[in-house]
């Protein structure tokens, strides 16, 4: 009887409390479900989409991509000017900004954030930053002129420099926090972004909360939960039961059921990305141009429709659609089985050609794609053996050159064709196990790429990009396959205004919780 009495008394008290506290608005929470975990929360290390997702919202960059217009707009920098033929960039910084740990943001924080990645012997450098050198290879120094002015010096003009400042490695970190956490900074990130880090339970969830003092204003909700749920069916069940507001993984058949749900919106936005088939040019067959041309001609882009349905955009050049500063007419090879045979005959190869196609074991749709391709190739006398390996083995085998063909893709780090072309020919990346075209050694091509980066004239740049694309096509160095779309499924009764930038970042700040 005791507990029952207490229970009724409590109800009375609770209703009293409610009656007096009606004005306090309830806290808003957004729950996001995903299948994978980020590798790190340090923006300098973030290269996978899950990590970039967090660093985008925990940190700010000097300039950022507007999620509506895709233009570069001020962020931590309020204005900038470029001088000395494009080798000197001066930024005026926003005043009165604080990091989540309460320390102030100023020119020194900018210098610190870049130096820790740039200088190998920087005292607060606790680990390596694999992306920095690739993106900022022309950067010579970053200096503070006064508390709110910084200058970046380049060794030669670099047209996309402003665009590179929107990438994750250019985010500004709290120097005090880096010094405090050292090696564990990737688990304790401190920035100036619209959300602050709360907790990370490995393989379970990551929690962020709104930064009420954010310089653009208070975010549209208070708490953010990102749950890691490795089973797709469970993720979809939780979404259907409205336990989760947003999911970013889909299977094509499951979206069929969701498409009819009025409260579910499926958003599919093309992003600046490239997925391609690359050749191992050291293979005795693939080192011959006509063999590569034959393989390219046997690729039927309709495979993509059959396997991926409407969820990818087929590409016929290495540059994805929507990339600023590019005008490409239709290039590349057309699907042509007769042409493929003709190319092979030119090489006059007697033996059957047997090639290994290296694939990641967890990509079943890609496997279906390659299997369709292999049947076409068989018709022209090329036998493809599909080898599926785990992620770790894949990197190792690619790094050691233990493959003939493979399929890979990435998303542009910043919105400029340089962001696709430059990593395609980076030898270091290939050694680390990211397939690309760096095996191709050609001084003329190297020169072309070199000139492109320092070309400051827009019209000339467009011409140079076309030249490089055409050259890659002529040499048949790869088969450009498709451009990914970012698929977001959300509960439109609870969430509105979710946007994805062309480089696949999502500013949670935009999201409104109803």
């Amino acid at each position: 009887m005791d507990r029952i009495t207490k229970h009724y008394l409590m109800i009375v008290f609770m209703s009293l409390a409610l009656a007096t506290g009606v004005n306090a608005s309830p806290e808003k929470t957004v729950t996001w479900g995903s299948v994978g975990e980020p590798e790190t929360l340090d923006p300098g290390q973030a290269w996978d989409s899950a990590s970039v997702f967090f660093t985008t919202n925990l940190f700010d960059t000097l300039v950022r991509l507007d999620s509506e217009t895709s233009e570069i707009v001020p962020a931590l920098a309020v204005s900038w000017r470029v001088g000395k033929n494009g080798t000197q960039w001066v930024f005026q910084l926003r005043k009165g900004i604080r990091f989540h740990d309460g320390t102030g943001f100023n020119a020194d924080s900018v210098v610190f954030s870049f130096q820790r990645q740039m200088e190998k012997d920087f005292p607060y450098r606790y680990y390596d930053f694999p992306l920095f050198d690739e993106i900022f290879k022309n950067l010579v120094s970053v200096e503070a002129i006064d508390t709110h002015t910084v200058v970046f010096r380049l060794d030669e003009p670099f047209y996309p420099f402003l665009a590179t400042l929107t990438s994750s490695p250019s985010a500004i970190v709290s120097p005090a926090a880096v010094k405090k956490y050292g090696k564990t900074f990737p688990q304790n990130p401190v920035g100036t972004g619209p959300f602050r880090f709360k907790s990370w339970e490995k393989n379970k969830r990551i929690v962020m909360e709104a930064n009420a003092d954010y310089w653009m204003g208070r975010p549209g909700f208070d708490h953010f939960y990102r749950l890691t749920i490795d089973k797709h069916d469970q993720l979809h069940r939780l979404f259907r039961e409205q336990e989760i507001d947003i999911i970013d993984s889909y299977s094509i058949s499951r979206t069929a059921g969701l498409r009819n749900l009025r409260w579910a919106t499926i958003k599919s936005i093309p992003i600046l990305s490239l997925t391609f088939i690359s050749f191992n040019l050291e293979n005795r067959f693939l080192m011959r141009k006509n063999v590569r041309k034959a393989i390219c001609s046997a690729w039927d882009p309709r495979f993509l429709k059959y396997v991926f349905q409407d969820f990818v955009d087929p590409l016929n050049s290495i540059i994805p659609k929507g990339m600023p500063g590019v005008k490409v007419k239709r290039t590349g090879s057309k699907f042509d089985m007769k042409g493929a045979q003709d190319f092979l005959q030119k090489e006059n190869i007697k033996k059957p050609i047997r090639l290994k196609f290296l694939l990641l074991s967890d990509s079943s749709l890609e496997r279906q794609l390659v299997s369709l391709f292999s049947k076409k190739l068989k018709q022209i006398g090329i036998e493809l053996q599909i080898v599926s390996v785990s992620r770790g083995d894949y990197k190792q085998r690619v790094g050691e050159g233990d493959y003939d063909l493979t399929m890979y893709g990435w998303i542009a780090d910043y919105p400029d064709p340089q962001s696709i072309i430059s990593p395609l020919f980076n030898e270091q990346l290939l050694k680390m196990g990211f397939p690309n075209l760096a095996q191709y050694k050609d001084t003329e091509m190297e020169a072309q790429i070199e000139i492109l980066s320092s070309e400051m004239d827009r019209a000339k740049r467009i011409q140079r990009v076309s030249d490089i694309i055409r050259r890659i096509d002529d040499l048949a160095l790869c088969i450009p396959l498709y451009q990914n779309t970012s698929v977001i499924i959300y509960n439109n009764r609870k969430i509105e205004n979710i946007r994805v930038t062309p480089i696949d970042t999502i500013h949670l700040f935009d999201i409104k919780k109803k």
């Binding site: 229970h7 409590m10 339970e201 749950l227 259907r240 069929a256 059921g257 409407d310």
Partner: protein, 703 residues
Amino acid sequence: MKIRSKLFLSLVIIAGVSVLLATFFAIYSVSENYEEIAWEETVNSRKKAENVFYEYLGDLTRKAVFISELKEVIGNMDNPDELYISLEDKGFFLYNINTKIISPDMEILVSYVNSSDSILSPAELQELPFFQPDRDPLLRDIGIFKVQDQICILSVSPIVDQTNFSFKGYVLFELYFNSEFADQLKDKAGCDIVIRSDDRKLATSFQDDEGRRFFPEISRDLVEKKQKLEILNENYLIDEFAIFDYFKKKVGSISVAVNVKNIVVAKAQGIQNLLVVLAIVSVLVIATSLVVGRKLSQPLLALSRSAKSIADGQFDIQIEPTSRDEIGDLSEVFSNMAESLKAQREEILDLKVFFEKIIDNSPSALIICDESGNVISINPAAEKIFKTPLKGIEGKDVFQTLRFPPSIKADFYKVIFSGNPTYHDSYPLFLPSKEEKIFRLTLYKIILKKGISVAMQIEDITERLQMEEELTHAQKLGTLGEVLSRFTHEFNNLMTGIIGHISLLKLETDKKSASLSRIISIEDLATKAYDLGKNILSFSRKEKYDTERIEVTGLVDSVLELIGKTVLKDVSVEKEYRQGSVYVMGNKERLSLALFNLFINAKDAIAEADLSEGVISVVVDCQDGEKKDKKFVRLDIRDNGIGVDEKNIEKIFLPYFSTKGRKGTGIGLSTVKQVIESWDGKISVTSRVGVGTTFTILLPEAG
């Protein structure tokens, strides 16, 4: 008037008025409450039906893809008769679904009608958005369509010959919203279903006593006002959801009807219970009124004092017989009653302590709720699982605070209404900490005089399931070992023959012949293969474990030789034998197996760390025992792999513990420990995450 009469009259008036008032309020409040519960139940059923309906769409897409990829379909597109027969033979035509196979030029090759309603004419077929010329035929699609007076789900999937990637036609499923479909929904959602288009009744799961289907008169008004509808002398509550077609236009609705009979029964029961409570209350009122009667009668006052003592739990009372009238008799009866009450109360107290102990120490979590789902009590196990003290959730809605999914809520009411317990053998539950665990869930109803409560018994079986899985895996590995052993035995029998013949061949070959060196190489290799087989056999054979004197460094070398080029091929191994040859007592095969296990472990730890250079170092040395009376051989196996977390290091030697995820069996290290300890040895481990792990074995030296 006599005292008795006065008392009687006044008490009857007081009690009568209060009981009447209380009854009125009770009936009012109870009926309000149950109306709400019944409506909630109806809404839950509607949600469930909606979920089932949309899952069905996804399911139908997958099934259409499945049929379109069958080799029976792709291979027989030129031969419709064969196509039909092969599909029917294999049972690929689905229940209540019409299957059409259509050629690229829209000729219907196969039309299998599995429901009575196929009305899609070839002309209507051609007009579907799926088959318009501007649409890519390689796209699969699904949608709801209104065809004449009917509504159906149509699902299309392209048939593609994958050998030359040519488009061969389409698979089309038609699922009409007919009675069978309504029955299917009813089975899965657990409530009656009525499907209507905007102007027509399409399907119903209602059947009268003679099995004839009928449509109850459902109006939109009924749903909005949450009014009951009488169907076949039973009361139903109705909720509905709209059906949108391919063009997102509303074409009809699906109504769910929930029988409220059980809810009404529960309501009657509730009122009855309340009346009982009220009766007790009125008795108390009378008892209290006795105090008022004190002035009228002194003996009555004494009695009432005693009654008060009893109410306070004081049973040791003495009532002196005052007079020989009715009051005197009453005093005596009262006295006896007090004694018997005392005895009963002690018994109850004992029972209470007994049950409380059991509940508090139960490993299963128990949550007791009242009939509206508010938490009354939870036991310590539940506090632990849900990481919340009783104070935090007492009196709160259990479904909201513990974030139980709606299906548990539905079960909860099922239990209340039906009175039958429900079980779930493995129920994945999302804890407030956003953790997912698997539980065994039992809900049962407890009826007490003071009200209905529901007990939820929740057992966390996540770890047990995992253990079972790992045990099965370990057993499988065991079987594999046996197969390997048999195979190797046969292999070595063959090898013996081969080696014999090679020796003969060697003798027969001319000493000057150029082939002789080749034959010797073959013999050499064959002997190596035979030795390899022998080594494998000695590992997998079950032998008696006799102890013998073993030279440790030699044994380490032989183990490394066996696995150095295979298992450890990417790892560099450094050996250091500080004392030369050292001996221990043990069993050679068992010790080899133990070392083998440790090396594999080290290798896995290195692989997991993703290092460019993995190093395993082995040190063999001697050291004194703690009391300096014994000498020990010390064996360190160190790797620079991923390391073990401090919190796991204690568990590393437990059976079934593994940090290797699903890959390992976890059985290795516990066996190693058993083996070493059986020879009075010791094994210990030190590890740091990211630096590496060292296993140290100490075995008594055998001089």
